[in-house]
């Protein structure tokens, strides 16, 4: 009898232990950053996924954007990558991605749903590969916003109301008139501290970064023209100095000035729509306007974010299930509609964006239209093999011109040298 009781107790203990182990969910880490409400939305979607898939727990590590730019690459190289991440520089992690294809429910769905150029962007350069490493979860276009209320208060006509092709000089003149009319505390114009943001206006002004062979040359009249415009904005007090001078060597957005109603014209991009819808709402009239036109036409810069999986994961099958879920039509559509993002998915059909705000709807329409006439140079800069080496030297060297450390001539020479060195160093890897 005593032996029987002992056996029953032992059996119960073993069963209990097994059931505890059975309930242990696989834990996946997902590095994420947010411009607006997308962290909140994706968490909500993942909660639903976890409810239907109790064997998987996804820990969303919400990080600042500078972490994605500066820390994540080191983490990945050091072998400490998260299982998944939302990134902007897809080319940066080539060779470190997980090939999801063997684990996906239907790889053909992925190939049909996402642009081939974006899937290719994540693959190793110069190798034949059909690997699927992730999907674009947002498509972005750069372009300007205006604060129409400020134009009205200053009694200045909005140039794009009467012309389809407004130059940067005309916008600067109109915005300056607004700032002068409204006095202290109002700035005419601002652009994010970013080589990517600079590139659209530079291409529109006639800059050509790439020749037919893909070689990079910075010194063109178009580049000089917009670089000089940027320097003049600072020298003439038209732009808040904090953005380019007060943030050291890193990316900085001028969005707070626009949200505070201190800025007439703000050069940024479509990812700000959700931010503005939340933080401005209808406090004043804001809207997106077409990219200014110049010698090089009118182009914004394409961009976006991709959700990718890293090869260092110990749970590739579970990662693929999460990716399949996030890339599925219904989930993707809900994500785009709630975040006010332009989708990178080709099969969603008409979207019903969840905003009643006319400004947000107008901006979404404007950027969708801008996406149709992005120049080849802009695409090459974003998705080409040399693009990674260009934006930061442009940003940092032009800052040195603004502070007076370099002349524009010297800066252009230095940018070219920095790019050549970066490309040579990367080529030796």
């Amino acid at each position: 009898m005593k032996r029987l009781v002992t056996l029953v107790v032992l059996a119960l203990l073993v069963m209990g232990t097994m059931s505890v182990y059975g309930q242990d969910a696989v834990e996946l880490r997902f590095a994420w950053y947010s411009d607006g409400n997308e962290g909140e939305v994706v968490r909500d979607l993942l909660d639903r996924f976890e409810a239907d898939n109790p064997d998987i727990t996804v820990i969303l590590d919400e990080q600042p954007y500078t972490y994605i730019l500066e820390q994540l690459p080191l983490q990945v190289e050091a072998g400490e990558a998260p299982d998944m991440a939302r990134i902007t520089a897809g080319e940066r992690y080539r060779g470190f991605y997980l090939d999801l294809r063997p684990y996906l429910a239907d790889p053909a769905y992925w190939e049909a749903s996402f642009p081939a150029a974006v899937l290719e962007w994540l693959r190793p350069v110069g190798e034949e590969s059909d690997a699927i490493h992730g999907f674009p979860n947002q498509f972005t276009v750069t372009g300007p916003y205006i604060n129409r209320t400020l134009f009205e208060q200053a009694g200045v006509e909005v140039p794009s109301d009467s012309s389809d092709a407004v130059s940067w000089a005309e916008w600067t003149e109109a915005a300056t008139a607004v700032a002068e009319a409204l006095g202290e505390g109002t700035f005419a114009v601002a652009i994010d501290r970013s080589g990517h943001r600079f590139a659209g206006p530079a291409f529109s002004s006639g800059a050509v970064y790439f020749d037919d062979e893909g070689s990079v040359t910075i010194d063109t009249p178009g580049f000089r023209s917009f670089a000089q415009t940027l320097v003049d904005w600072h020298a003439n007090g038209l732009t808040p100095l904090d953005v380019w001078l007060g943030s050291g060597g890193t990316y900085a957005a001028a969005a707070p000035y626009f949200i505070n109603g201190q800025l007439a014209l703000y050069m940024s991009g479509s990812w700000q729509i959700s931010n503005f819808a939340t933080n401005i709402g209808d406090a004043f009239d804001w809207e997106a306007v077409p990219n200014p036109t110049g010698e090089g036409g009118s182009t914004g810069m394409p961009g976006g974010t991709a959700v990718v999986a890293f090869a260092q994961t110990e749970h590739p099958a579970e990662v693929a299930r999460v990716m399949d879920y996030l890339a599925s039509v219904d989930v993707y559509r809900e994500f785009a509609e709630r975040t006010l993002f332009i989708p990178g998915h080709q099969g969603l059909g008409e979207l019903n964006y969840q905003t009643e705000l006319p400004a947000a709807k107008q901006a979404l329409g404007m950027f969708a239209a801008e996406a149709l006439h992005i120049s080849d140079q802009a695409y090459m800069l974003q998705f080409g093999p040399s693009g990674f080496a260009i934006n930061n030297p442009v940003r940092d060297r032009l800052t040195q011109v603004i502070t007076g450390e370099l002349t524009l001539d010297d800066a252009i020479t230095r940018i070219q040298e920095d790019i050549d060195t970066a490309l040579a160093t990367a080529a030796s890897s």
């Binding site: 100095l241 904090d242 943030s247 502070t403 450390e405 160093t425």
Partner: protein, 352 residues
């Protein structure tokens, strides 16, 4: 010895255990027993080792744990730094990095005129060197002067002496990042200082946006944050000077100024050299506080050597570990030289 009747003994035990002193005694005995067990285990392990290595050899055994930690976290990274300085590419793993010899160092030292960074191939490195030089000169000089003045003032018999000593020391307790953030709120375009400037009817000043102003404030803030520590060292030095010397000087008719130059300063020199060496090394290594305050800007106006190494090696789009490691070798060599010179000078000035 008279035997105690059993009942009396029980009473005695009962009484003794219930008293606090006996409880303490029992606790003490318990810990002693634990200690004995511990010591016996150590002895059991160490005795054979000592028999084998001898008493002298045991010293190495005791040093070993610390040496291992030092080796893994200090020595190994230093050796890796050497290796990286002579290799190229953007690969992180040493085995994936091709050997490039002196190429990184030769790029760093490729300069038309070392005093003009624009003539150098790696111009930002030389800007950082020049910025660091300027920072070291101004920061260390101001710091020593301010610390000395504060120490002299705090050495006098003042009312509320303890309070003032605490006030000067308090910023030392703050984290450099906290110091930077507090001062950022004061100095930014819409900060407290500009509110004052505007209230006086003046134009806003770009305290952190003009290169000269930013360099000025970086020095001021670091002196404010660190001088308490050096004041304390100098104060200890001042208090070690025998008061009889001042009394004798006073009897001989020496003025306070003469006493300062002839007694205080010479006798304070050994302490002063410690302060100079420490503050110089710390000034050359300047990074965290400035990085949080200005990020190295505007432009490269407050980019110092450590930040340059960080930027090039870890924060750029193409991580150039080779150049960053070569730059840190240059900096290490410079620090070594500086320390050697200072120690030599210090030894010569010591009063024996």
């Amino acid at each position: 010895m008279a035997s105690i009747p059993p009942t009396a003994a029980r009473k005695k035990i009962k009484r003794s255990v219930s008293s606090p002193a006996d409880v303490l005694r029992l606790v003490g005995q318990f810990f002693e027993a634990v200690y004995q067990v511990f010591v016996n285990i150590i002895d059991f392990l160490m005795h054979p080792l000592q028999n084998r290595l001898g008493v002298r050899g045991m010293a190495y055994v005791f040093v070993l744990p610390n040496l291992l930690i030092f080796g893994v976290f200090i020595l190994l990274p230093m050796l890796l730094n050497f290796y990286y300085a002579f290799t190229g590419s953007t690969n992180l793993y040493p085995a994936d990095r091709p050997f490039v010899g002196l190429e990184n160092l030769s790029r760093l030292f490729s300069c038309g005129n070392f005093l003009d960074p624009n003539t150098c191939e790696v111009d930002v490195f030389w800007r950082a060197v020049s910025n660091t030089g300027g920072y070291v000169i101004f920061q260390v000089t101001t710091m020593i002067l301010m610390s000395l003045i504060s120490a002299l003032a705090l050495n006098r018999k003042l009312a509320g002496q303890g309070f003032f000593r605490s006030v000067f020391f308090y910023p030392v307790l703050l984290s450099p990042v906290v110091v930077a953030l507090i001062w950022k709120w004061i100095l930014q375009q819409d900060g407290l200082l500009n509110a004052l400037v505007v209230s006086l009817g003046q134009e806003r000043v770009g305290f952190l946006l003009s290169p000269q102003w930013a360099q000025f404030w970086v020095v001021v803030i670091s002196v404010w944050a660190q001088m308490g520590f050096y004041t304390l060292i100098l104060l200890a030095g001042l208090q070690a000077i025998p008061s009889e010397l001042y009394e004798a000087a006073s009897i001989d008719g020496a003025s306070q100024t003469q006493s300062f130059w002839r007694i205080t300063l010479p006798l304070l020199m050994p302490t002063m050299f410690v302060v100079i060496v420490l503050s110089l090394i710390r000034a050359v290594q300047v990074f965290d506080q400035v990085f949080a305050l200005t990020g190295g800007g505007p432009g490269t106006a407050t980019t110092y050597m450590v930040q340059y190494i960080y930027d090039v090696g870890l924060a750029s789009q193409t991580n150039q570990y080779g150049i960053a490691s070569a730059a840190s070798l240059v900096m290490a060599f410079f620090l070594l030289l500086l320390t050697a010179v200072q120690l030599r000078l210090g030894r010569n000035s010591e009063i024996t």
